[in-house]
Every structure is written in structure tokens, then in C-alpha cells.
């Protein structure tokens, strides 16, 4: 066997599709010609709304499903025709899928036994992984006697003990409570760095998606709509969908007043802004209607002081939800409304009550302009 040529991606999907034929006439295109690649040692997260085809993609990579089109390559070799048991791509499931009739030790040892390793080696490897994942002392317990967090760690241990080159996760934290989720997330990242494995991680939770990966793939309706570093995607969403799903943005139809060499001038209600052309997904023309997205966190909110500068306006608070780390305001904004997120710098900010007048400051360098889709 030859070493893969330098530059060959570790895992590569080439226009992979999956169509579920429900009846003779009715079919669902769950995954639609998806292509992406993952480099060795990379941590990649696949995010998208529920039902967009994430699990289907993952299950095709694991080998549980046969693609209806395209090719999947591991280290340059096609694995599309192989069964899951021949791929050595373990997966951590949302419901953990621990074997209920086996104790923790046997669950972790399952894959090692399938590889016909000697008992000594198995005992040693299992002990090691238990040590690493803080499972020492639970070896003889059955899955139903474990806490959620422990079950999750056994599921992780069971895959990691095989020292796989690549590991798949399908929403592994969605059955955990918020605190455990953050803890386990850190754990997964730590293990990945420590063991230098490649990870493809599926989630629909944006905070989870942004915090761990080296790279993010955003999926919608069976297609990859954007990929890049989390920061890039958050700051430069390429479509309204991404701006909405990742940034939870406000959207307004705006009119293009004039187009300059670097900026485009737009009118939002009675306000006028200059948006950099870098922040437009197309080259706008004068008088065209475009879709403006404004991330709620980029708007500053303060007590009105009678002075209104450029990019500022006065609005009335309709609702204020306190979420601990922030205040989430909904304000009347001319004839529509606008959402604003104000970080809770403790003691330093006043909370405005519904009915109060406030001054908003927009920062046009954070605006994004999209073509309006018919």
C-alpha cells in the first residue's frame, strides 16, 4: 500500500447524496450533493437545523447508510462500498447506545474483543481509558446504574479505546443538562488534542458549534451552505440563513441609495448607513432593494441624552428578558421591531423597563447586505 500523497485530505466527501424513497412517487433528498474534506487531526463541526441531513451525512460516513450518489474517501481510498465494521470509524451516539446487558468494562472492551486482542491488553487499555475519563470504580456497574454524564463518558471511552484515527459524534451532548454539557464539551476537546484524533462533530446548538471546532460546516436543507473558522462564519455569514441561524440577526428590507467604490449607502427607515462592499454578498445597484442583517449584539443601547449623532436613533422598549449574562431587549423600531442584546457588565449597566425611551447606536461595520431571494 502506498502512502497517501501529501495534501490528500484525510476524509473527503465527493458530491455525496442520499435520497429516501418513501413511496413510489414520494422521495426525500436528505443529503444533496455534499462535498467537503477534513484534514488529519482537525476538529470539524457540522451544524444545521434539525432535519437538515446532518445525521444522514454522518451515518453515511460511518457506513450505516449507503449513499445514493457520490463517493466517500478515507486517506485517499474510497470506502463507500465497505460495511461499517470494516471502516474503523467509531461513532458516539446521541442516546449513547451503551449495551444495556454489559457492564462498563465490557462495554468499553467491546471493540477490543472484536479485534481478538488478548485479555491482558484489553484489561490494560480499558484501565487506561477509565483513568483518563474519570471512570475508575464504575467498571462493574451496568449502564442503567450510571449518571447521564458517566454514560456519556463510557460511550466516549468505548470509541477512544480503539485509538481510531477519526471519530464521529452525533449530537452527543443533547441529552445532558447545561452544566454537564459545558464540562463534557471541554472534555471532548481535551481528549481530541491529547490523542490527536480527527473529529467530525454534529450539533444543532450554536454555542456548542462555535466553541470547540477548528472549522465549522453549516448545513441547510441537505446542502453545505458555508464552511470556515467559527469566527469567520460568525462575523461574515455568507447567506441570510447563516446570519439568522448562527448570529440570530435582525433582518430588514432596505433601499440602496448610492454605490461607491468601497461603500454602498443604504436607507433603513429614516436612517442612512454606509456598508462596506466587503459585507455584501453581491454587487448592489442603485435603487435596488436588499436584505440587511444586523446582529443584536452589535447595537449599543443607552440612556437618551438629547443628542443624536449619525447612526443613532431613539426607540421605546417593548420587552426586556434577563438571561444572566445579558439583557435581551425587543424595541419598537419605527413600524417594525428590533432585537438588541446588551451584555450584563455587572453594576455597570442599567436595565431599561418596558415603555422607557432609549438611544440606540448602530455600528455599520457589522452590517451585512444580501440579495433578496425570490
Amino acid at each position: 500500500m502506498s502512502e497517501p500523497a501529501a495534501g490528500t485530505p484525510f476524509l473527503e466527501l465527493r458530491s455525496v447524496s442520499k435520497t429516501y424513497q418513501l413511496t413510489k412517487t414520494h422521495a426525500i433528498k436528505a443529503v444533496d450533493s455534499v462535498s467537503f474534506s477534513i484534514a488529519e487531526g482537525e476538529f470539524v463541526t457540522l451544524i444545521g437545523p434539525s432535519g437538515c441531513g446532518k445525521s444522514t451525512t454522518l451515518r453515511m460516513i460511518a457506513g450505516f447508510l449507503k449513499p445514493t450518489g457520490g463517493d466517500i474517501l478515507l486517506e485517499g481510498k474510497s470506502i463507500t462500498a465497505l460495511g461499517p465494521e470494516q471502516r474503523n470509524i467509531p461513532m458516539v451516539f446521541q442516546n449513547y447506545a451503551l449495551f444495556p446487558h454489559l457492564n462498563v468494562f465490557e462495554n468499553i472492551a467491546y471493540g477490543l474483543r472484536a479485534r481478538k486482542l488478548s485479555d491482558d491488553i484489553i484489561a490494560h487499555d480499558v484501565a487506561m481509558i477509565c483513568q483518563m475519563l474519570n471512570l475508575v470504580g464504575t467498571e462493574n456497574r451496568f449502564p442503567d446504574a450510571l449518571s447521564d454524564g458517566q454514560q456519556q463518558r463510557v460511550a466516549l471511552a468505548r470509541a477512544l479505546v480503539l485509538k481510531p484515527k477519526i471519530l464521529l459524534f452525533d449530537e452527543p451532548l443533547s441529552n445532558l443538562d447545561a452544566r454537564l454539557r459545558i464540562q463534557t464539551r471541554a472534555e471532548i476537546k481535551r481528549m481530541q488534542t491529547l490523542l490527536k484524533i480527527t473529529v467530525l462533530y454534529v450539533t444543532h446548538d450554536q454555542s456548542e458549534a462555535l466553541s470547540i471546532p477548528d472549522r465549522l460546516l453549516v448545513m441547510n436543507k441537505g446542502k453545505i451552505v458555508q464552511q470556515g473558522k467559527p469566527r469567520e462564519i460568525y462575523d461574515f455569514p455568507s447567506t441570510p440563513f447563516v446570519a439568522d441561524f448562527i448570529g440570530n440577526a435582525n433582518f430588514y428590507d432596505v433601499c440602496v441609495i448610492s454605490v461607491g467604490s468601497a461603500n454602498v449607502q443604504i436607507a433603513l427607515q429614516d436612517l442612512e448607513f454606509d456598508v462596506s462592499l466587503d459585507h455584501c454578498d453581491h454587487h448592489p445597484t442603485k435603487d435596488e432593494m436588499a436584505l440587511l442583517s444586523i446582529n443584536p449584539i452589535t447595537i449599543t443601547i443607552e440612556e437618551p441624552d438629547g443628542v443624536l449623532g449619525k447612526n443613532q436613533c431613539v426607540c421605546m422598549v417593548e420587552q426586556c428578558l434577563f438571561t444572566g449574562h445579558a439583557f435581551s431587549y425587543t424595541l419598537a423600531f419605527r413600524d417594525t421591531s428590533i432585537r438588541v442584546l446588551q451584555p450584563n457588565i455587572q453594576g455597570a449597566v442599567t436595565q431599561f423597563v418596558p415603555g422607557a425611551e432609549v438611544k440606540l447606536t448602530f455600528h455599520a461595520q457589522a452590517f451585512h447586505l444580501f440579495r433578496i431571494q425570490e
Binding site: 450505516f64 461513532m91 442516546n95 449513547y96 444495556p100 472484536a114 452525533d170 441529552n175
Partner: protein, 570 residues
């Protein structure tokens, strides 16, 4: 003094706080006393009381006869072999339906063929086995085998296995279906081969179903009376037939009672084991929410091929047996004069008319009464708290746990004399069926109630409905599918069962199944076949009607029920 005072208020309170429950309990306990306790106690008295004192004389006498000992061993050996072979076949069929790539129509066919033995009278496979492999048997002639006797252990074993494996199929396919498919995926993705997955995941997780099936089949075979009566012959006696022959042939009620006591012991043992097994928490329900819609991984190819081959063979054999019965009912004299005739059907509708109408009336009455009782008992046992609840539940199932022969003998002993003289009446037949076969109804009502969040009933009460109104307007509509499912089996059992009622029929009230037996003992095979066909058609039509009702009601209630589960957060 102090204690009785402390106790009294709670006693009073049930009558006051829930008068409906109180009166229901009184009525049900009263019926238990008459139709469950009285017969069993009279049976024990007849066995162990001689001239007013406790005595083992009957037992000694019965056990002193080597033929009876042979019957005891015969029963146990037969039950063991049938439970193993039947469970094996049932497992194969269940795997074929849940784990192979067979096309859907074929899977439906497999399911349909396994329904056949369930809706047939217990003699069907015995009759056709006799016709195929008995003296002058068709298959024997075709294969050119001269010296072969179907009578004895072999024939009984084959026939009972074919009759009871569908039960194993149902129990095991239910458990194979509820397994989480992601476990298969997990095993494969950890590198296990498909064989390894099958032996380390699928088989261990289906063990509770296998255990349950073995016990069910053991009990069913132990109690089976019709098959060994026709196929056992003199060389292979078993307890139920010996007890029957002792009572009807030698009029020895004491001997029959004692033999049936011998049968009662292993039957109760199986019953207790089964309750223990079901009481244990099953593995299958441990893993909760599923991530993705998944299908079970396919089995190793060699195993799939083996499974399909076995299924094909069995299906063909079963269809062949039913074809023989059909054919047999249309020829003049079986294997002697093969000209086509309708005379057997003419006979059935002329001389068997009373049996048909009697059977239908009895089955109808039993189904209605049994269902009402099943709803009340199931509801009370699942939803209410009261003193002696476990014993209540146990008692309700007792007649079902006992072999039919035991119940039949106990009933003739108990109701043959005043104060409750019922021999020869319609009531005794109906009572025997109701208290035996309402058990499936109770089980399905309880299972259905376990799925329905009590918050629905609490909501109804908190909106001001009384407990009776809540029961009739909220609970009943929700459990109707379960009740209908229970009714379905109740009706089938009442149409086809014979082991208990063979002792209870009379000139005034007779049953189709007993007519089949009479024809068989008179060696009128064609007549027996015609009776069987008529019975199968009636049961099939009634069953189809019941299934249709079930479908209509479930489709009507399915959606709102689902929504309310979610809202309630169950």
C-alpha cells in the same frame, strides 16, 4: 382496641371516598370466589379428602400405576421439547420479519401464515398430519415410505410445535422490534462483524423474550389436550388425556381430579417463573431518546439464507396441511374414494347447525362479559390502590394459568351439586371461557393504561368530572383499541378452545370443537375436515371484522392521543 380504631377509618373511607371502586371490588371478589376459588378448593378436597379426613390415598393409588407415571413423564418431556422447538421456530420467524431484507409482501405473508394456527381449532394440524402421515397418508405414499407411524411422541411433538410456535413468534418479534437499532450500529462501528453483533447483542438482548416464550409454550403444551388425544396413541400417554379418559371412560372423578392435580403443580410453577421474569426490569427499555430514524442492521448472509430456508419450508408445510384439510372436506371417503362431493358440508349445516349456533352464542356472550370484566379488573389493578391488590391481580389470572383440563374437572366437581348447580347449562360454559380467557384482555388493558399518563385523568377530575364520568369519558375511549385487541383473542379462544369445556358440554349445549372430536373418534375424517373448515372460516371472518374495528378506532384516536402525550410530557 387501639389498633382496630386506627384501622377502621381507612376501611370506612374506601366505601365513602370511592364508592364506585368499593362496589366494583365487592362484585369482582364475589365472582372470583364462585368461579375461581370454589372450583380449585373443591378439586383439592376431592383429591386430598377421603371420608372427611386428609389423606394421600388417591395420590398413592394414582402414582402406583406405572401407566400414570409414564403419562407424567410424557407430559413433561413433550412440554420441554415443544417449548424448545417452538421457541426456536418462533425466533427464526421473528428474525425473518425484523432483521432480514425480505421484501415487505413476503414478511406480511409470513405473519399471515403464523396467524393460521392461532385461529384454527386445536385439532387442525393433528387431523391434517394424520391425513398426510397417518395410515394411508398422502405424503407417505408420495414419498414411498411404507413403515411409519405418526402416532406417539413424534406426531404429537410436530403437531404441537406447529400449533404453538406462532405464540413464540409474537412474543419474540415484539421484543426484537423494541430493541434499539443504534445498538446494532454501535456494535458494527466498533468493529464487530455481523456474526459477532448477532451473538453478542441481538441474542443476549432477546433472552427475556426467549425465556418468556419457553415458559408460555411449556404451559401451553402441558395443558394441550386435543393433540395428544388424536396423535398420542397408547404408546405415548400424557396427563390431560389420561385425566379425561379416566373421567369419561371409567367415571373415576377422584382419579381424574388427582391426575389433574399432578398437572397443576408444574403449571403453577411455570406461571410463577413467568411472573418473576416479567417483573424484572427488561434491558430493552434502558436506552431512551433516539437520535435518528434507524433500521436494524442486517444479519450475516449465511444466517439470513438459513432463516429464509427454514421459513420457506415451514410456510409450505403449513399451507400444505391446510390444503389437505380443504381437500379432505370435499372428497367422498378420504384416500379411498376421491370423488368430489359437498355432502360433508351438507351434513355440517344440517346436523351441525345447533353446534354452530351454540358455539357462536357462547363465544359472543363470553367475549362481551369477559371484556367488561377485563376492563374493570385491568383498570382497578393498574390505576387504584387498595388492600390486597397483588393478590387480586394474581387471582384474576389463576384460571388462565391452570391447564384447561384442570379447570374443566374442577368446574364439574364444583358445579355438579347444590348450592350452585350449573352442570349442563349455558352459564357454566360461558363462565369457564370468561374466567380463563379474559386474561389476555386484562393484560392488554393494563399495558394500554401504562402508556396513558394518569395526568389525563387527573385533568378531567380537576375540571370537575366525577371519577365514574372520568372513567367512561376519558379512560374508556383511550383504551378502546386495547379492549378490542383483547376481545379479538377472547373470541378466538372461545371459538377454538376445548380442553376445559369438553367436560362441560351436554346434550343441551354443544360446541363445534367437540363435534370435530366426535367425527375424529368415529374416523369420519372428511366430516371433521368440513367442520374444521367451517370453524376456521367463521373465526377468520370474525377476526377480520375485529381487526377492521381495531383499525377504525385506532386511526380515530391515534392522533389526538399522540398530541396529548406530548402536551402532558409523557
Amino acid at each position: 382496641m387501639h389498633e382496630t380504631n386506627a384501622f377502621r377509618p381507612t376501611r370506612k373511607s374506601l366505601m365513602k371516598t370511592d364508592p364506585a371502586l368499593f362496589s366494583a371490588l365487592v362484585a369482582v371478589w364475589l365472582s372470583f370466589a364462585i368461579f375461581i376459588f370454589l372450583p380449585v378448593i373443591r378439586l383439592l378436597i376431592t383429591t386430598f379428602y377421603v371420608d372427611g379426613t386428609f389423606s394421600l390415598a388417591n395420590m398413592r393409588k394414582v402414582l402406583g400405576t406405572s401407566y400414570n407415571i409414564k403419562a407424567l413423564y410424557g407430559s413433561l418431556i413433550l412440554a420441554t421439547s415443544v417449548s424448545i422447538a417452538g421457541t426456536f421456530l418462533g425466533y427464526i420467524f421473528a428474525l425473518a420479519v425484523t432483521r432480514t431484507a425480505l421484501p415487505r409482501p413476503l414478511k406480511v405473508l409470513l405473519g399471515a401464515v403464523t396467524i393460521l394456527p392461532l385461529i384454527s381449532p386445536p385439532f387442525t394440524s393433528s387431523i391434517s398430519l394424520t391425513l398426510a402421515l397417518g395410515p394411508n397418508g398422502m405424503l407417505l405414499k408420495a414419498l414411498g415410505i411404507g413403515d411409519f407411524s405418526i402416532y406417539g411422541f413424534l406426531g404429537t411433538w410436530i403437531s404441537e410445535t406447529l400449533t404453538y410456535f406462532p405464540v413464540a413468534f409474537m412474543v419474540i418479534s415484539a421484543i426484537l422490534n423494541t430493541m434499539s437499532a443504534t445498538l446494532d450500529d454501535a456494535a458494527l462501528s466498533l468493529g464487530a462483524s455481523r456474526w459477532r453483533m448477532f451473538t453478542t447483542i441481538t441474542i443476549p438482548l432477546s433472552l427475556p423474550g426467549i425465556g418468556n416464550s419457553i415458559l408460555l409454550l411449556f404451559g401451553a403444551s402441558l395443558a394441550d389436550f386435543a393433540t395428544p388425544l388424536i396423535l398420542g396413541g397408547h404408546t405415548f400417554p400424557v396427563l390431560p388425556t389420561e385425566a379425561y379418559l379416566m373421567i369419561t371412560g371409567m367415571f373415576d372423578l377422584r382419579g381424574g381430579a388427582t391426575l389433574s392435580f399432578l398437572l397443576l403443580v408444574p403449571a403453577l410453577l411455570v406461571f410463577f417463573l413467568q411472573r418473576m421474569l416479567l417483573g424484572k426490569k427488561s434491558f430493552v427499555s434502558v436506552t431512551g431518546k433516539n437520535g435518528a430514524r434507524t433500521e436494524f442492521a442486517k444479519l450475516p448472509t449465511a444466517l439470513s439464507v438459513f432463516i429464509c430456508a427454514v421459513c420457506l419450508f415451514i410456510v409450505v408445510f403449513i399451507l400444505y396441511l391446510y390444503a389437505i384439510i380443504l381437500w379432505g372436506s370435499f372428497v367422498k371417503v378420504w384416500s379411498v374414494n376421491n370423488t368430489f362431493t359437498l355432502e360433508h358440508y351438507a351434513y355440517v349445516f344440517k346436523h351441525g347447525q345447533k353446534a354452530i349456533s351454540d358455539t357462536l352464542l357462547i363465544a359472543f356472550l363470553s367475549t362481551v362479559i369477559g371484556s367488561v370484566l377485563a376492563v374493570v379488573i385491568g383498570y382497578v389493578a393498574q390505576r387504584k390502590q387498595f388492600f390486597g391488590k397483588r393478590f387480586f391481580e394474581f387471582t384474576s389470572m389463576l384460571n388462565y394459568a391452570l391447564p384447561g383440563t384442570v379447570v374443566g374437572i374442577a368446574y364439574i366437581i364444583a358445579f355438579n351439586q347444590k348450592p350452585i348447580l350449573l352442570t349442563g347449562t349455558l352459564s357454566i360454559l360461558v363462565a369457564a371461557y370468561v374466567f380463563r380467557y379474559y386474561a389476555t384482555g386484562i393484560r392488554s388493558v393494563i399495558a394500554s393504561l401504562e402508556q396513558i399518563d394518569p395526568a389525563l385523568e387527573e385533568a378531567s377530575m380537576s375540571l370537575g368530572a366525577s371519577s365514574v364520568r372520568t372513567f367512561t369519558h376519558v379512560t374508556i375511549p383511550l383504551i378502546i383499541p386495547a379492549v378490542l385487541a383483547g376481545m379479538r383473542y377472547l373470541f378466538i379462544h372461545c371459538m377454538t378452545a376445548i380442553s376445559a369445556t369438553i367436560f362441560l358440554v351436554s346434550v343441551r349445549w354443544t360446541l363445534l370443537t367437540t363435534r370435530i372430536l366426535e367425527s375424529m373418534t368415529e374416523l369420519q375424517f372428511s366430516q371433521a375436515s368440513a367442520f374444521s373448515m367451517v370453524l376456521i372460516v367463521i373465526v377468520f371472518l370474525a377476526d377480520a371484522l375485529m381487526l377492521y374495528l381495531l383499525k377504525v378506532t385506532t386511526s380515530k384516536f391515534h392522533k389526538p392521543q399522540e398530541i396529548s402525550y406530548e402536551k402532558v410530557g409523557a
